[in-house]
Amino acid sequence: MIQEQLSNPIGIVLAALALGGLALCIWQHRQLVRARNQIVGLLPDTKQKEAGSLPFALSLLDQHVHEKIKYLKERRQDAETETKALSYHHKKLLSVLEVFPEGVVILDQAGMASFANRKMESLVGIAKEDIVGKPPHDWCNDDKVLNLLVRYEGNVTRLRRSETVEFSPADKSDKTLAVTVSPISLPSQPDTTIGVLILFRDITAESMAKRSRDDFVAHVSHELKSPLNVIKMHSELLLDVGDDPQQRICSINVINDEVDRVSNMITDLLNITRLEVGSVSIERKRIRFRDFVADVFAKMQRAGEENNLRFKLDLPQSLSHMSIDKDLFRIALNNILSNAIKYNRPGGLVTLEAEENDESVILRITDTGVGILPEDQERIFEKFYRSDDDDVTSRSGHGLGLSLAYEIIVLHNGQLRVESEKGKGTTFTIELGKTSNLLKEAV
């Protein structure tokens, strides 16, 4: 039968077609299986088992893709929010750096300035626009600072620890600035430097305070060593002169005077230092001011009459009671009066007058002595100031007495002024306000 059919050409064609069709079906089936497997492969592991037929797999894939798109959209939103937050924090940090009381410059990893604040202009005289985007040698005009900064140009990783130099800007030589260069690194990578923070700080006040402290110590050591030197000299002389009574008396007197000088200086120095640091609290008491002034004057008069001087006290019949610290005010008045005695001439006159008006009580201490040069009058209340004038250098002194008097009178809310004519004499005027006195007392 088959042989019959096969011998029939139509049968052969039909059989071939049938075989071809079968082969096509098999191939298509394989393609579909491959496609399904590929689709299943795209699905997450948990869903792969659920995917049976191709349509079902396609539907699962569609569902999965939608979930994925939704997830990515949410992530994008999160990322946008995070970017906004980061941008806000970045701007906030820059704003903080902008209002920093110190000049700030940040160098990036290549050593270029990526940030500079406004303070740089007022402090160093360089506008931020002239700094940002440029390397230090383009904007830094101080050799000392540049020497420090150029070391990191192009390679900030060389910086391992902070370094500081001090300098004065070219157009502001009265100012002293400190520049500190510090490495910037991420907390996760502390050993890797990713930039440099440069801080410019105004240390003018600090360095002036340091200088004045150094000057003060130098002055004190000099002023103490000078009388000690004389004491040492005369003590060796005493050992050397044998029985010469005149020389022995002379040396002993000199030693005695110099010991007094050192002692007075230390007392003045302690008082002035206590006043300056505020460790002395002023203890005001309401006193009979007229009696107080007369008493101080009388004591100084007894000491000064040995110097062949005349004394005149000219006080009104009555003076208001004043609220002062008696011990401190006595030091001030004594120092001014002893100057009037020391810088007087033989036979000269020392006068103390007082007057009173509605606002204040005024004391005037006048001498007929050597007078003070105009240039010295401006500096006479400075600590340790002594004139080069022969009339001053020929008399012993340590330049603290008037400074101390000034501090004490200022502490009483008063004023101390000097008027003088060289060769004729000097008047010191103390003005004490009555109102401030009462107010202070009320407080």
Binding site: L228, N229, M233
Partner: protein, 131 residues
């Protein structure tokens, strides 16, 4: 032997008096001045063998005097002994730039100063004889 001449500069009369006493006793000839300006005048009249000076003095201080002396007489290297109580860095730096200068810290022993001068002159005599 000719007496050695010492120029003593100080504005403190007691210092002058005592050091002068010890120098005269040891056979030195002593001239005095109360500041750098007066000392320059003395030097212009006759150069001393050694100069002993204070630092802080009116009109011209000891350091200005030393600098002026070296500038006026560059060929003379007279020993200058500076009596000082100062220890600041700037002072030391300025003074260390001057040649043939020695320091004596205050409080100063006049006897030790004289012993130092005696040794200085003895060494100089030996150097001259050896040379």
């Amino acid at each position: 032997m000719e007496k050695k001449r010492i120029l003593l500069i100080d504005d403190e009369p007691h210092v002058i008096m005592v050091i002068k006493h010890f120098l005269l006793k040891s056979g030195y000839e002593v001239e005095t001045a109360v500041n750098g300006l007066e000392a320059l005048k003395r030097v212009s009249q006759q150069m001393p063998d050694v100069i002993v000076t204070d630092i802080q003095m009116p009109k011209m201080n000891g350091l200005d005097f030393c600098e002026q002396l070296r500038s006026d007489y560059p060929e003379r290297e007279t020993l200058v002994i500076i009596m000082t109580s100062r220890t600041e860095r700037d002072f030391r730096e300025r003074a260390s730039s001057l040649e043939n200068v020695e320091f004596f810290e205050k409080p100063l022993s006049p006897k030790k100063l004289v012993i130092h001068l005696n040794e200085f002159f003895e060494n100089r005599e030996c150097a001259i004889q050896d040379g």
